[in-house]
């Protein structure tokens, strides 16, 4: 049984600054990371493999040259092999392009029974790549899953959909998108980190994949990306006794007509 865990290499939003005096984003100091919830995706895949030794987990990412760093991190979390579609096109890819590229890569890889995605990536939070890939591959998808059990060519999954939970069953091959609650990602140990650098990574270029040009062009045109301007009073009481601080706050809230 082959599980492919898809993860995205993103900029750490905590390092992104809004340039003072303008709404421009400064990403120059931002480091990359595996998209927060995709760590849970890899973990869940690996937990499945740890329960059943016929399960093989690989990891798949589509990213630019910098995403190379991510493979070691991803593989130290347990997958036996990494697939990396290395292309600068990833920088401007939307859900449409990403899904097309991942689908082409999955077809090339060939071995997939279960493909796992995150609920949404921490940069774009496009919330679409998983179900899109399922649609393109013509296989079923179960979204927003919090629990997963594989047996005899089937997946039993618990979904959490706003106002209810659902238990569903689907035959493999299938796509599942996971909510982060599904599991807690591990912190890889020394041996796992060392082991990762010995694991194979297969690299593809877009040209290696069966893709027509128009499927690698984003659909919508981005007109602007602007920092969200937070216009707040920022009256923060740091000094003084608890009494004084609380009094000042109560006075301010009274003035606002809130008490």
């Amino acid at each position: 049984m082959d599980i492919v865990a898809c993860y995205k290499w993103v900029l750490d939003e905590q390092d992104i600054k809004i340039v003072p005096g303008s709404l421009l984003l400064d990403t120059s100091r931002a480091k990359g990371k595996i998209s927060d919830y995709d760590k849970n995706v890899i973990e869940e895949a690996v937990l499945q493999a740890e329960k059943d030794d016929t399960v093989t987990v690989t990891a798949l990412t589509f990213g630019n040259a910098k995403a190379k760093q991510s493979l070691k991190d991803a593989l130290s979390r347990g997958p036996v092999k990494g697939y990396w579609v290395n292309d600068a096109a990833a920088d401007i890819a939307d859900g449409f392009v990403t899904a097309n590229v991942l689908t082409a890569a999955l077809k090339k890889i060939g071995a997939y029974d279960l493909i796992l995605f995150g609920e949404g990536s921490s940069d774009a939070y496009g919330q679409q790549v998983g179900p899109r890939v399922a649609a393109l591959l013509g296989i079923p998808v179960v979204t927003f899953v919090t629990k997963l059990e594989i047996s005899e060519g089937k997946v039993m999954a618990a979904r959490k959909i706003g106002d209810c939970t659902e238990d569903v069953t689907v035959n493999l091959p299938a796509v599942i998108t996971l909510l982060p609650e599904v599991c807690k990602p591990r912190i890889p140990g020394l041996k796992q980190v060392l082991g990762a650098s010995k694991k194979p990574v297969q690299e593809f270029k877009l040209a290696d994949l069966d893709l027509v040009a128009e499927n690698t062009l984003p659909k919508n045109k981005i007109k602007s990306i602007q920092g969200y301007a937070m216009d707040r009073k920022n009256e923060i009481y740091t000094d003084g006794t608890v009494d004084e601080k609380v009094n000042t706050l109560i006075a301010s809230l009274t003035k606002e007509g809130l008490l």
Partner: protein, 311 residues
């Protein structure tokens, strides 16, 4: 005719979509088609009153709405609309993404706004967890999901008329749905609350919720939380968490206790009139998002607040 197509599995949301859909259609001078799935005749007629020129009433026997994605996609293909609006519920997003893939169309999820600029459609949505706003010009046929309650329901005008076309839908039964268990709403709706107190991981144990409840009672507030409190600790139900993937709220007062204020959280409370934060870490990002704040230990500040408000 390339019009605007709206769909949600929740008819109340469909009516919200009709509000914005209708006004866009008026600017673009096109028609609106609404799709209703397994709704009563009165309800489908209601969609006409709310502004649709045409309603496609799909019916099928599978209660699982996601199973109709293919059928919905077919209806959309036939209409060949220039814009598809789908309700941004979880089920809506699931269906939207697959339709977008089948049709090779763009998809913008959770648009905050959509408008016509120089005869082109433009949306705004959050990026980087809410740190930034991205403005996009939509390609023709693009699907846009809009979260529930982003717009009010369209006002019903019983004098409007339009066609209702009934169709039988073919469900895809690849996914077998077993038990469905509704999550009982335990608390008042945060979306309409005037005052909200929000708790985060600064609270060291569930028993300390009492402290927060006492304060909430004093000032007449509802209680919300960060994602971790609901999803990792399960101290409060899912619908209590505020943020990017949780609730968006617009209270008069939002008061956070022990919440660091990561952008994905605060984005859900940015429409509050007044934001107040209590956190012991002076450098917590919550303070740059706050109007008023106290840097201090919540276990000292909150009891003092309760005491002083009680007098």
């Amino acid at each position: 005719m390339n019009g605007i197509f709206v769909y949600s599995e929740d008819i109340a949301v469909t009516k919200q979509l009709l509000n914005i859909g209708r006004s866009l259609a008026d600017v673009l001078q096109v028609n609106v088609t609404a799709l209703a799935l397994n709704e009563t005749e009165t309800d489908t007629a209601g969609l006409i009153a709310c502004g649709a020129e045409k309603v496609i009433a799909l019916s099928g026997s599978n209660p699982w709405v996601e199973s109709y994605a293919e059928s919905i996609a077919e209806c959309i293909a036939k209409e060949n609309p220039l814009l598809v609006l789908i309700g941004g519920t979880m089920r809506g997003k699931d269906v939207a993404a697959r339709i977008a893939a089948w049709h090779s169309h763009g998809l913008v999820n959770s648009a905050m706004s959509i408008e016509v600029v120089e005869r082109k459609l433009e949306t705004k949505r959050m990026l980087y967890g809410g740190l930034a706003v991205c403005k996009e010009e939509l390609s023709e046929g693009c699907i846009v999901t809009i979260d529930p309650r982003t717009y009010e329901e369209a006002a019903a005008d019983p004098l409007r008329n339009g066609d209702v076309v009934a169709c039988t839908a073919q469900s895809n039964d690849a996914v077998l749905v077993g038990g469905v268990c509704p999550i009982v709403r335990e608390r008042a709706d945060l979306a309409n609350a005037e005052k909200i107190i929000c708790v985060g991981r600064g609270l060291s144990s569930q028993s300390d919720m009492k402290l927060v409840e006492d304060l909430a009672e004093k000032i007449g507030a509802e209680i919300g939380c960060s994602r971790s409190i609901a999803e990792d600790y399960h101290w409060l139900p899912t619908e209590s968490y505020i943020g990017l993937s949780g609730q968006k709220v617009k209270p008069q007062l939002y008061l956070s206790i022990g919440i660091s204020g990561q952008v994905q959280h605060i984005v859900g409370a940015r429409d509050a009139r007044v934001i107040v934060a209590i956190d012991k870490n002076e450098k917590a990002p919550i303070f740059s998002a706050a109007d008023y704040g106290i840097v201090g230990d919540l276990y000292e500040i909150v009891p003092k607040l309760i005491e002083k408000l009680g007098k």
